[in-house]
Symmetry: C2
């Protein structure tokens, strides 16, 4: 029987979820919920209703897993615990420092309702976290490194757009090759922020703006750019739209460690992602965990989980027998 999925919030991530569901025969999109007037929201899947977010409660019996597609800053801290009182839920909460607090709030709600809630699903947090866990458990005497990119950082792009005289901007985070190579060598380097990543900015200035001032404001912006080598290119709006409209991302989790009675052998474990579309890949991870959430709840489990807790076998539509035969 197909698992009925609800999408709560229809932006980039919601659209990614919609398209990921179509790639999985055992999942069905049951409804989309939005805070906008539902009649103004046009979705891609034929015959699927769009409801107002306030109506979600009425559809508790029609939805096996609700996928929360709001933002981590203000939406999810409120919405995920609220919806976990009614539904199995999956979210992609990614404010790292606040995950323990979010976990506690969601867990309380899901324990009470007897539902399963999976939080912080995606690739970081998500697949990268898993890889840090596996690699760390296997090589206890070692060190791991995470590099992000090449990819678009929405936060940094937004920060540039807030500068006076900037019409539009896109910022790419880029891992420094020399740092990657140093890590892979097993030398366990101590790397500064500047040594690990550089930041490349494509900026459309408003007419008559002072380019030198804008460039200086970007490069000296605390937290966002001051600690990095930053490259600034001024381009036209047409160039920005033509060459920089995608949302690529990716990165690397590398752990090196030693084994042997005298630590005489080195090992390198490397996991990397190269993604054309950050929201679509995140969505693809989320729908696999939505499958797991439905299965866990069907087995009688409840409460908040993360990718670290969930048996891998639950992510695949194939049976355990098939997977053992094909993958081991």
């Amino acid at each position: 029987m197909s698992i009925r999925i609800g999408i709560f919030g229809y932006g980039n991530l919601g659209r990614g979820i919609e398209s990921a569901i179509r790639q999985n025969d055992d999942l069905t999109l049951a409804a989309v919920f939005t805070r906008r007037p539902p009649e103004t929201v046009k979705i891609r899947t034929e015959g699927v209703p769009v409801y107002h977010a306030d109506e979600a409660e009425k559809h508790a019996a029609d939805i096996d897993v609700m996928i929360m597609c709001g933002g981590s800053a203000t939406d999810l801290p409120e919405q995920t615990p609220a919806l976990a009182k009614l539904f199995n839920v999956v979210d992609s909460f990614d404010t790292h420092a606040k995950i323990p607090e979010h976990f506690a709030a969601v867990n309380a709600a899901a324990e009470q309702s007897g539902k399963v809630a999976v939080i912080s699903v995606g690739w970081d947090p998500g697949m990268f976290s898993l890889n840090r866990l596996y690699a760390g458990a296997v090589l206890p005497e070692g060190k791991d490194y995470t590099f992000w990119g090449k990819g678009v950082s929405q936060g940094h792009s937004d920060a540039i757009r807030r500068i006076d005289g900037v019409a539009d901007a896109k910022q790419y985070t880029i891992p420094v090759d020399a740092a990657l190579e140093a890590v892979r060598s097993g030398s366990c380097p101590e790397l500064t922020t500047r040594q690990k990543h550089l930041r490349e900015c494509f900026v459309v200035a408003k007419e008559g703006a002072d380019l030198a001032r804008i460039e200086n404001e970007i490069k000296t912006m605390p937290n966002y750019f001051a600690d990095y080598d930053t490259i600034v290119h001024f381009i036209t709006k047409e160039e920005l739209d033509r060459d920089h409209s995608g949302i690529p991302h990716g990165g690397f989790v590398i752990r090196t460690g030693k084994t042997g009675f005298d630590g005489e052998h080195n090992h390198v474990i490397e996991y990397s992602l190269k993604l054309d579309s950050n929201p679509e890949f995140t969505s693809s991870v989320i729908v696999a965990y939505a499958r797991a959430a439905a299965r866990l709840n069907a087995k009688g489990e409840s409460g908040c989980k993360t990718v670290l807790d969930i048996p891998p076998v639950l992510l695949s539509p194939e049976s355990a027998e098939e997977l053992r035969k094909r993958l081991l």
Copy 2:
């Protein structure tokens, strides 16, 4: 409380387990079991007893997890089910085609005894299998590829040693760079055996042996070499011992796949290992799963499991709270 580990069989893998246990504060080596006369087996850890394999039953109360270090061809199919009647066990059974049969035999024994048995642990099967599962679940419309090496194949080295006139030999399996690049490009190439890997052989010939005949016998050997581009070097015993005494290995699991309403976005997931010591890395994976086996059994679980079944959080000595805080 420390988890008490037994080692059943003291060869390369048994020694790797012994050294891996020393890297994990919550694990203790309780005893080594051997089919040789125990007094002839000298181990590295002070104060740990060596018993004859036949005595294992007497020590059932002193061992939380028995790690099976025999070979897949004849030892493990017999030993793992037998020992699972008495102990939680972990093995590294790697005869891919016989895993379903081995699973069934071990599961019957472990269900009956109420113990947990984890089979086929290591890196392939093992970490590579996990990565095929995760990547396949996340990118259902895609294709995955496994490459092995650069590393020593014991089976191929043995096959060369059986040729008349060969004194010793070491064979390296090497992934072909052009094939790796074609896969990473997302073009989903169909690759032949020959296109994926090449085989490099370092051979010590007996005095007066016909080198041309040996080279020809290697290159035309069915199953082992005939389907590959094979390079043969004749070297001296001293060169072999000096330059080829290690047991390095590694490899790559790469999945590429598409997302989007029209499959318009490509993604590449890549996992790779570069290992100085194949048996020590395999051992490091096994001891992490021994920890998981002890924890699962303490929770009341029983029966046969594989890496695909086990929640990642159980592999780490850290608590779930610490891991959420540090890794998500």
